[in-house]
């Protein structure tokens, strides 16, 4: 692009629109985190359910997989931050929402284990919905907004479902809130990456 080329008014407006669009189309979200958490929570919920049905309490230890996922998440976040060449206005707000969610879910897990909270899966699903809906709303990514709403619908459904079947709503919530939106986002990212080559 040259600097001193004379621009007509229409050319100026076209250039502005083109550059804004270029920035918008540069999807830098790899969606790895959404896919990983969608997968991990789904696997943990299903294995925990099987454990109850087959009377194998040891299978409940599958939830320790989430602790391993936290370490993987830290590595992913550091790598993505290094790779990122621009940041949007919503990035830090969305980051703050997910950090507070992480702390909240950790405290809630401890609380639910200590006091044996009834219908704990509903409470977890209500919490899953908050950052998911907020992220979808802030970034105007409709699949995630719908995913957040789906978590709350699942939370209501789980309240009226007997244990251990309510565990399966956790798996469904993780799929709708993170895994499916993650797949859509990943496709967009790969499409944008191909376009940039």
């Amino acid at each position: 692009m040259q600097d001193e080329q004379p621009l007509s008014e229409q050319e100026s407006l076209d250039l502005i629109a083109r550059m804004i669009n270029k920035a918008k189309c540069d999807y830098e979200d790899t969606a790895i985190s959404a896919l990983m958490w969608g997968g991990v929570i789904t696997v943990c919920s299903i294995v925990a359910f099987i454990g109850v049905k087959l009377n194998m309490p040891a299978l409940d230890n599958i939830w320790y997989l989430t602790i391993a996922a936290v370490f993987v998440q830290v590595i992913i976040s550091v790598r993505e931050k290094r790779r990122k060449r621009f940041s949007g206005y919503t990035d830090s707000a969305v980051g703050g929402i997910w950090i507070s969610f992480g702390i909240g879910i950790f405290l809630l897990s401890y609380y639910a284990n200590k006091f044996h909270v009834p219908a704990a899966n509903s409470v977890f699903l209500i919490l899953y919905g908050i950052p998911t809906f907020a992220t979808g709303f802030a970034t105007r990514f409709t699949p995630m907004t719908i995913g957040g709403l789906a978590c709350w619908v699942m939370a209501i459904a789980a309240m009226y479902t007997t244990w251990p079947y309510d565990i399966l709503y956790g798996a469904a919530g993780a799929q709708l809130a993170w895994f499916i939106p993650g797949l859509i986002l990943r496709r967009k990212y790969q499409k944008a990456k191909k376009g940039n080559v």
């Binding site: 040259q2 804004i20 060449r85």
Partner: protein
């Protein structure tokens, strides 16, 4: 009476840089270079002009042991950009009504 178009913004590369920076919170020099297809030398000169006008902030730091330049639009830059777009729209409106 027409508002005169801001000469700092009414240039292809500077306008492209400002249009990119208005859409993001901050962007690295390499990102802007890639999106505008400009040469590093030319872009540096135009970025410096925008900085001198107070329209952008330029931060130079080290990232993974390499020098890294990040640009961010200022409040004055946002105001100037909005006024520039408004002026452009006025020009175009008059042009269309004359036809």
């Amino acid at each position: 009476m027409f508002k005169e178009l801001d000469p700092i913004l009414h240039s292809q590369l500077r306008l492209a840089v400002m249009s990119l920076l208005i859409s993001v919170k901050e962007a690295e020099f390499t990102f802007i270079k890639e999106k505008t297809n400009a040469t590093a030398g030319n872009l540096s000169v135009q970025v410096q002009k925008l900085k001198e006008a107070g329209y952008i902030e330029v931060v130079k730091e080290f990232k993974d042991n390499y020098p890294n330049t990040t640009c961010r639009i200022t409040q004055a830059g946002i105001k100037a950009f909005e006024e520039y777009v408004k002026a452009l729209q006025e020009y175009l409106k008059v042009g269309q009504s004359k036809q």
